[in-house]
């Protein structure tokens, strides 16, 4: 396992199968697809940054890498992907065995190129705030202070724009010194880019060209007209602050039995077009702060009367959410527009109610946006997350823009697609498989926004159909993969990160053991989670539990060690042993059991799943549980109800929530105030330890998780209980031990699950 982590640390890649089933048949029988979870901007200080342009293969355009065989005598190198021999150009003339360019060092599988000459002037990042004003005064107050803080933290050179919306959309002109000035758009109808171009005076003095879209400073929009709306943060801080200070509740009256009229769709559409006109192609993000459901105009998710409830999963399943599909389509178009322009949509949805994250998901995910879901703008989940975005620290996000992600790989490997925050560029080539998953049909993707944690799940397809015998296990049984990420670094420079890896492939019936050694069960869990989530959204009448169960059974049948029809003989290699538990927890997780959550929450969870790396995904699937007690130091314990004890403190990290759970005895002591008394310092430390751990988790994580501190038998304890394996329920034969707990559920426990698995696997 640890070797996988090392590889990940170096290259940011985790593969489900590090020994690859080499043929289509083999791959199919392996159940878990050959796939990689790649973190393009995986932070690794060891990655060299090369101040020159990469050397590319003249046929396949792949980049010179440590797997390229260099012939120093003839100054040639062999491309491992297409086997083309290429000449070293002039600047590589000095290359020799002792004088290797950095990209040929074997340990430099991942390098970055930063060719200054090519990039031209640094274009500063653009932040366009889109702020909902249909909120109660209290929420507006919270939002104001959060925004004011964000404005303070904005990098000086970054460009800022400001849009507010309610019934109408107001685009504030920051560059107009005399009066506060804003352009007001009706929320009830969609506003196209052409209209914005014309109506907001970008064409003044020019005749509109009949063909082609004119946008950006280079293409005819004057810098002055852009500078009306987007100003360097340092220049508009005052007016921005006064705008934020004067934010008011949307003045249009709302009757008591109605929802506020909120035109989120129109506002986002205006924002997208504004960025498209002003700064197409350069990094920019729309940061939308939304306090409720969209009720007005395009993209509205619910009608205004409060008597109509907001759609639930059940409504979506039954097709009784009349506005859902229309809204999704609308936001998809906005997403496409943003992708085309290279801009990001971030969503800060802070309301007790749903706001339509489920509908907007498509736009956020395609553009690689950030999403934060909280109950209120006053909640730390929102406030701290927002601060996290702008604050530079060790764990900052390293927001980068305008990424283009490309893959080269050996010709027997094809790409089905990517599940993750990106959009297919529809660059169909020999590498793209006919079977498509997620964003496919291409070998290049757009990643408008990406950060150091953004992780893509790439699903491969083995193209080789030959019988295993025919394959000479001869000279080359390696597959090569090259991931190229061309992006605008958060300092503004364009960079190219190249990661090239190789994996051995095997084929034939005798390769099972080899395959097992290469199985990364964490990565597999993460991939399965993404796949099943994707299929739940994409496929009608998809039964995720059944699908997962079948997959698990097939996998165990293939790789398990057992005698037929003898469940008790069943055992799994350590390489696979935790995988059933992952699947068990995945079946119970929020990704599958959606009915406990609103569509917004589900969308949120899935978006996070789809952008996080393996480790975080695993935490989402199977929370970690740490026990603190006098008896021992902090130790991980089974995610089981039996972990609960009166004298224990449990720290549950389910990624979105961090729960500190005081056993009943501990809670009583704490309430008695022993921790403040002399002679009980150890108790105070015991109380303190999980708190510190939680803090460190919170500090590093984005979005900031929700911290729940609770006591055994308290109402908040449900946050823990819901995640635990119900090994003891009200139905159990044996009551829980004193100080222990039980769970009121009919769900099967892990033990039952395993029994069934064993029985089915050996059939």
């Amino acid at each position: 396992m640890s070797e996988f982590l090392e590889l990940e640390a170096r290259d940011g890649v985790r593969m489900t199968w590090n020994v690859i089933p080499g043929t289509k048949q083999d791959a199919a029988s392996c159940v878990v697809p050959v796939s990689a979870i790649y973190t393009p901007l995986n932070p690794n200080p060891a990655i060299p940054v090369l101040p020159y342009a990469p050397l590319r293969c003249r046929i396949c355009r792949s980049i010179l890498n440590p797997f390229s065989v260099a012939d120093f005598g003839s100054k040639m190198w062999l491309c491992p992907f297409c086997f083309q021999r290429n000449h070293f150009p002039q600047q590589y003339s000095a290359v020799s065995q002792s004088n290797l360019p950095t990209e040929l060092y074997p340990e430099c599988c991942t390098v970055e190129y930063m060719a200054t000459a090519e990039t031209g002037p640094v274009s500063p990042p653009v932040f366009l705030f889109v702020v909902d004003t249909c909120m109660i005064e209290e929420e507006i107050g919270y939002l104001k202070s959060a925004l004011a803080q964000a404005v303070e933290l904005l990098p000086d050179q970054s460009l800022v724009g400001f849009i507010t919306f309610g019934t109408y959309v107001q685009v504030h002109e920051l560059g107009f010194g005399l009066l506060p000035k804003s352009h007001v758009f009706k929320g009830t109808k969609e506003i196209k880019k052409d209209q914005i171009l014309e109506q907001m005076g970008f064409l003044t003095g020019k005749t509109k060209p009949t063909t082609g879209v004119i946008t950006g400073a280079r293409d005819g929009v004057s810098a002055e007209s852009i500078a009306r709306f987007l100003l360097p943060a340092s220049e508009c801080e005052f007016i921005l602050n006064s705008l934020i200070e004067e934010l008011q509740k949307d003045p249009w009256p709302v009757s008591a039995d109605q929802r506020a009229s909120r035109c989120t769709g129109a506002a986002l559409s205006v924002a997208a077009s504004l960025l498209g006109i002003c700064v197409p192609g350069s990094g920019g993000r729309i940061m939308a702060f939304i306090g409720g459901p969209s009720t007005e105009g395009p993209g509205s998710i619910i009608s205004k009367p409060l008597s109509d409830p907001i759609r639930s999963h059940k409504d979506l399943d039954k097709g009784s959410a009349p506005l859902y599909n229309k809204a999704v389509k609308f936001y998809e178009e906005i997403g496409n527009q943003l992708v085309h322009q290279g801009h990001v949509l971030d969503l800060f949805a802070c309301a007790l109610d749903q706001v339509g994250v489920a509908e907007m998901k498509v736009a956020v995910e395609r553009t690689g946006g950030i999403v934060v879901l909280a109950e209120s703008f006053g909640h730390s989940v929102f406030k701290d997350s927002l601060r996290h975005i702008f604050q530079s620290s060790d764990s900052d996000l390293g927001l980068s823009f305008n990424g283009i992600f490309e893959i080269n790989c050996s010709k027997d490997v094809k790409i089905q697609g990517i599940i993750g925050p990106c959009t297919s560029l529809e660059k169909k080539g020999p590498l793209s498989s006919d079977t498509v998953i997620g964003q496919g049909n291409t070998s290049a993707w757009k990643m408008c926004g990406l950060d150091r944690k953004t992780s893509l799940c790439i699903v491969f397809d083995m193209a080789k159909k030959d019988a295993p015998d025919a394959i000479g296990q001869s000279q080359n049984n390696l597959f090569y993969f090259q991931f190229l990420t061309y992006y605008q670094h958060h300092d503004g420079q364009m960079r190219l990160r190249s990661t090239t890896i190789s994996r051995r492939w095997v084929a034939g019936s005798g390769s099972v053991q080899e395959l097992i050694t290469g199985f990364d069960q964490e990565a597999a869990a993460a991939v399965m989670a993404r796949l099943v989530s994707f299929k739940m959204e994409a496929e009608v009448d998809f039964d995720p539990v059944r699908w997962l169960d079948r997959a698990l059974i097939s996998l165990c049948s293939k790789f398990g060690d057992y005698q037929k029809e003898a469940p008790s003989s069943f055992s799994l290699s350590p390489r696979l042993s935790i995988f059933p538990q992952f699947i068990f927890n995945l079946r119970r997780s929020q990704f599958i059991q959606v009915f406990n959550n609103s569509p917004d929450e589900t969308a949120y969870f899935r978006m996070m799943l789809n952008r996080e790396n393996v480790a975080n995904a695993v935490v989402m699937i199977q929370p970690s549980l740490i026990s603190y007690s006098f008896q021992s130091g902090p130790e991980p314990v089974l995610l089981d109800v039996s972990a609960i004890a009166g004298d224990r403190i449990l720290l549950l990290d389910s990624y979105f929530t961090v729960v500190i759970f005081h056993g009943i005895t501990i809670a009583q002591w704490r309430k008695a105030g022993y921790q403040h008394q002399e002679g009980h310092e150890v108790f105070a430390q015991l109380l303190q330890a999980p708190q510190e751990e939680a803090d460190s988790i919170i500090k590093e994580r984005f979005p900031v998780p929700r911290l729940v501190v609770c006591d055994q038998y308290g109402s908040q304890a449900r946050f823990l209980l819901a995640k635990l394996n119900p090994s003891v329920t009200y139905d159990s034969d044996t009551p829980p031990p004193p100080g222990g707990d039980m769970i009121f559920t009919d769900d099967a426990s892990f033990q039952v699950f395993m029994e069934h698995l064993q029985r089915l696997a050996v059939q």
Partner: protein, 1026 residues
């Protein structure tokens, strides 16, 4: 010089009507110092016969301020039928129309003209330069029986001092008339009477005709204390428009008359309206039993004794034909001109306000007519008979009152609704569909590139800013402002201590208001910030490069902001609206080529281009939004299309072409200020009722009509006139009366809902000659002008001109055929009352609206003003007034401010002269070549015309001439309620040619000379008769 008119009620109801002029009153006035114009005022000798015993004077009259002077010819209107009607059929017993000879008139044509044959004893030429006179005095050669009165010799038929000694025969027996001997004066006499070289119009003695009857000549209040716009009356609670008088003169510290901002104040604001001075008789003598109204252009004072002031309502004929056939035969139109808020003379009694409380005004239960002095109470007052429908109504118990011996109610004189032709009632709940609206003023200012660069925006902002203090006081006065180019910019002013917020509405196809509230605020809350904003708007848009202007969309957006309340939308527009809803295209280029090629469809360019703006306007009107458009432009703006909006919503177009940042801001400001301060009403509905026998045929003016009977006026003001035409649906009995009642339900700017009821009752006649004798020339001509204007967009110009000419010919022919048939067919015989009709008709065919050359916009603008123009301004608009400026210094201070007008004839133009020609809209100053540079220097401050701007700013310099010129100009402005746009016309320049073209008596490329025209008319009549 003024004459007092006392509007006597109808003879039929004579029981109700007291007899007027009272001796005490006379005596009182005698003791007063002589009026300034004494020299011209004959010493009035109270005519014994005319006096009624003072005891009969109704108490309510006893303290009338106006009756200070004795009536010069206090003609007691004898009851109808008291004397035989002087028949004019036999022949014109002509009054000496020729009171004013024109020196230098063209020599008479060879044709034989009879001079105007007046049927009325002596209708003095209305004060303007009736060219007809010029003919008369040249008339010697013709032996027309309608003799020219040797006016000079006889001291004029009317009222010179000598006449004063002889009681004029108003209403008297014909014998009296004959004493005057104007009739039948032989041609010889006429010859004698050609007093060439006599002083021009002033030769005529100030006629002392009293008004209808019982008129009292009034003392002068031109003494200087009178504010220009007649706010002399104090009673604020009775103010005609529901509040303190708003005219400029009243404001403390503001001595300048309304239009005085740019020029020096007239030191003595002359009295109100009318031709000042004695140059011409103010109006004709009471033609026939007090049925003739004074000429609209004259100065007179009305005493309301049952019939309304002719200012408010005026009929084209002062006797109503009994049958439709008679009317058709006469060729004359039957219509009334209603100007419900017409400015009163400062000396006139205010319109009284009557509150019936919960009960509401008494109305006829059948026709819903309002109680008025002509309703008869019978059966001890228990029953009243409607004068319009004849229905007998039970008098409500609360309203019962016994009748006096004269048959009138005993309380008639104490109840304004029973003794006044015009009263106002407080509206009860049944007249309210909602709370009376507040006075809302929303300003829309064009800030497109052109508007900014020409200075139009700055001018508009400055005008608005200065006018803010003129808005009605009180918490109910609200303002809002927006600017627009290709987008619409609203301003939210409700931000205490903060700068206003600018909200841009960019969607000009589907507009909306950016906020629901805070766009329109009480002026008291936002005055300061609004002023600041107005100051900064021009600089804010200084570098605006947006050339497009979304006029229609901006109006719509402004409308949406005002929709909940209604109000006045004042739009300042500078270019052709090129984008957004209701955008227009430059049709003019197309139009020009069409016109030159003689396209018959050319008039289509004078129609609105499509229905968009009309639809919009109807919606505006529905929500009580009145639009006024100020066009400060330098190019074609399609006035034809734009003017649809104001004309449908009760507003008007103001046109400043070509806009000059130098001279026009002053006019813009004054126009805006007058627009705001003039008496006006909001959310009004008007209906005119008339006696059975007639029915309303049509309304015409600036309003919106949804149902056939009523017209909706989002706003109505003192400048607007509505023409109502009638047709017969039955016969009248001879000696019966026909009543007209105009009821206007409106809200004052202070939020009170009222009904203004205006009554007039006219006798009916079956004698054609009576119709001619009692014809009201100005009203009839106004009718003709309005009809012509209506026709311009739908027919070709030549058709309209032919129509106008044939109307004139038909009338004259009817007269010739039926009333003067004995005359020789070689004579052109004109009815006295209508003797100026041919001249006016000629002028009309040469007017801006009907002439062939000229810009489309000018013509459209002309059409748009005419649609609401009042009687008193319609004539000058077509037939301008020309005066000489260069010799003003030769006039005494005692002389009337405005010198006598010259005839519109190039022979009157001397080479060393400077002339001002004004039509109520523009003032054209024509400087001749040989003018003394010193004179030039004195008036204009420059001694050479080279390089002088076409648009003048008249400054006052420190010299007498300059002072006098300014006085004259200001006086004209005051009279016209309009700030003349002064333009310099130089010879050899297109402007000079234009000036020449306004001299309507001259032969012009596009028209006949006056003499030729008369010949033409004569021939036409002859050919028709044979």
């Amino acid at each position: 010089h003024k004459t007092v008119l006392s509007a006597l009620s109808c003879p039929a109801c004579s029981r109700q009507i007291p007899i007027f002029p009272s001796i005490p009153v006379v005596a009182a006035s005698m003791s007063r110092p002589p009026p300034p114009f004494t020299p011209q005022n004959p010493t009035p000798a109270p005519r014994p016969g005319g006096q009624s015993p003072s005891s009969t004077l109704p108490a309510s009259f006893s303290n009338l301020q106006i009756s200070r002077a004795p009536p010069p010819f206090a003609s007691v209107g004898p009851p109808q039928g008291d004397g035989p009607v002087p028949s004019s059929i036999r022949g014109p017993q002509a009054p000496p129309p020729g009171a004013r000879p024109f020196p230098g008139s063209p020599s008479p044509p060879g044709s034989l003209f009879a001079c105007p044959a007046p049927s009325v004893q002596q209708s003095p030429p209305f004060g303007a330069p009736p060219a007809a006179q010029s003919l008369q005095q040249q008339r010697p050669p013709f032996n027309g029986p309608p003799p020219v009165l040797p006016a000079q010799v006889q001291r004029a038929p009317f009222g010179g001092p000598p006449a004063a000694s002889q009681p004029l025969p108003y209403g008297g027996p014909p014998a009296a008339v004959s004493q005057l001997a104007p009739f039948g004066v032989s041609p010889v006499a006429a010859a004698q009477s050609a007093p060439l070289g006599a002083p021009r119009y002033s030769a005529a003695q100030p006629p002392q005709f009293s008004g209808l009857s019982g008129a009292v000549s009034r003392p002068s209040y031109s003494g200087g204390s009178i504010p220009p716009f007649g706010a002399a009356r104090a009673p604020s609670q009775q103010g005609p428009y529901g509040g303190p008088p708003q005219f400029g003169g009243e404001r403390p510290g503001l001595q300048t008359p309304l239009f005085g901002a740019q020029t020096a104040p007239a030191s003595q604001p002359p009295p109100f309206m009318g031709v000042r001075g004695a140059n011409a008789p103010a109006f004709g003598p009471p033609g026939w039993q007090g049925q003739t109204r004074p000429a609209a252009s004259s100065e007179f004072i009305v005493k309301d004794t049952g019939n309304c002031s002719p200012r408010l309502m005026r009929c084209t004929m002062n006797q109503i034909p009994c049958t439709g056939d008679l009317l058709t035969t006469s060729g004359m139109p039957l219509a009334i001109m209603v100007q419900p808020f017409a400015l009163p003379h400062p000396s006139e009694e205010a319109i009284q306000l009557v509150d019936f409380g919960e009960m509401g005004p008494i109305r006829c239960s059948r026709c819903k007519a309002y109680i008025n002095p002509f309703m008869r109470f019978v059966d001890q007052g228990k029953i009243f008979i409607c004068n319009l429908c004849g229905f007998s109504n039970d008098t409500p118990r609360e309203y019962l009152c016994n009748l006096g011996p004269d048959g009138r109610r005993r309380d008639a004189d104490d109840r304004p609704e029973l003794c006044r032709g015009t009263v106002e009632f407080i509206a009860t709940k049944e007249f309210l569909v909602r709370e009376p609206m507040p006075a809302v003023y929303f300003f829309l200012v064009d800030v497109s590139m052109n508007a900014i660069q020409t200075g139009a925006t700055a001018a508009a902002c400055s005008a608005i800013s200065q006018s803010l203090s003129d808005l009605p006081e009180g918490p109910r006065t609200m303002v809002g402002i927006a600017t627009f180019d290709s987008t619409i910019h609203f301003y939210s002013l409700k931000r205490a201590q903060q700068q206003p917020l600018m909200l841009i509405v960019p969607d000009i196809q589907d507009v909306y208001t950016p906020l629901q509230m805070d766009l329109i605020l009480p002026v008291s809350e936002c005055r300061d910030s609004l002023e600041q904003l107005l100051e900064s708007i021009p600089s804010m848009f200084e570098n605006n490069r947006v050339a497009d202007s979304a006029f229609g969309a901006a109006m719509k957006a402004g409308f949406l902001a005002m929709k909940p309340t209604g109000g006045k939308l004042l739009v300042f527009q500078s270019v052709l609206p090129s984008v957004g809803t209701g955008s227009l295209s430059a049709r003019e280029t197309e139009g020009r080529s069409n016109i030159s090629s003689g396209d018959k469809e050319a008039h289509k360019l004078l129609q609105p281009v499509d229905k968009t703006l009309k639809t919009m306007a109807l919606e505006f009107a529905e929500y009580q939004v009145c639009v006024d458009v100020f066009l400060t432009t330098q190019s074609y703006t399609d006035v034809a299309s734009i003017s649809v909006v104001p004309s449908t919503t009760g507003g008007r177009v103001y046109y400043y072409f070509p806009f000059s940042a130098l001279s026009d801001p002053a006019k813009l400001f004054n126009d805006l200020r007058w627009n705001i301060t003039r008496p006006q009403g909001l959310e009004a509905v008007m209906r005119v009722r008339c006696s059975q026998g007639l029915q309303v045929q049509d309304y015409s003016g600036n309003f919106c009509k949804r149902v056939p009977t009523d017209i909706d006026l989002p706003a109505i003001d003192s400048d607007k006139t509505i023409m109502v035409s009638f047709k017969h649906d039955d016969k009248f009995q001879e000696n019966s009366e026909c009543g007209f009642q105009c009821a206007l339900l409106y809200t004052t700017v202070y939020g009170q809902r009222r009904i203004r009821v205006i009554n007039i009752s006219l006798p009916c006649t079956s004698m054609l000659s009576n119709l001619f004798r009692c014809a009201d020339l100005e009203a009839q001509f106004t009718y003709v002008v309005k009809q012509a204007a209506n026709g311009i967009p739908s027919s070709s110009l030549s058709q309209v001109r032919d129509q106008v000419t044939s109307t004139c010919i038909n009338i004259l022919q009817s007269y010739r055929q039926y009333c003067a048939s004995v005359s020789s067919s070689g004579q052109l015989i004109l009815p006295e009352a209508l003797k100026l009709l041919p001249l006016y008709t000629l002028a009309l065919t040469k007017s801006i609206g009907l002439r062939n050359d000229g810009r489309l916009d000018d013509r459209s603008y002309w059409v748009s003003i005419v649609s609401s123009v009042s009687v008193s301004l319609a004539v000058p608009l077509v037939f301008p007034r020309m005066i000489a400026l260069h010799d003003l210094t030769s006039r005494d201070d005692e002389d009337p401010l405005i010198p006598n007008p010259l005839t519109l004839n190039s022979e009157n133009i001397q080479d060393n002269g400077i002339y001002l020609l004004e039509n109520g809209e523009d003032g054209f100053i024509h400087v001749r070549n040989a003018v003394n540079p010193a004179t030039l220097e004195q008036i204009f401050g420059f001694s050479s015309l080279a390089g002088a701007p076409n648009l003048l700013v008249l400054e006052q310099f420190d010299n007498v001439l300059s002072r006098k010129v300014n006085e004259v100009v200001n006086e004209i402005r005051r009279q016209r309620c309009s700030y003349l746009r002064l333009r310099l016309c130089q010879k050899g320049d297109p402007s000079g040619d234009f000036f020449r073209s306004l001299l309507v008596e001259d032969k012009a490329p596009g028209g006949l000379s006056y003499v030729e025209f008369l010949v033409h008319v004569h021939r036409q009549i002859q050919s028709k008769m044979t």
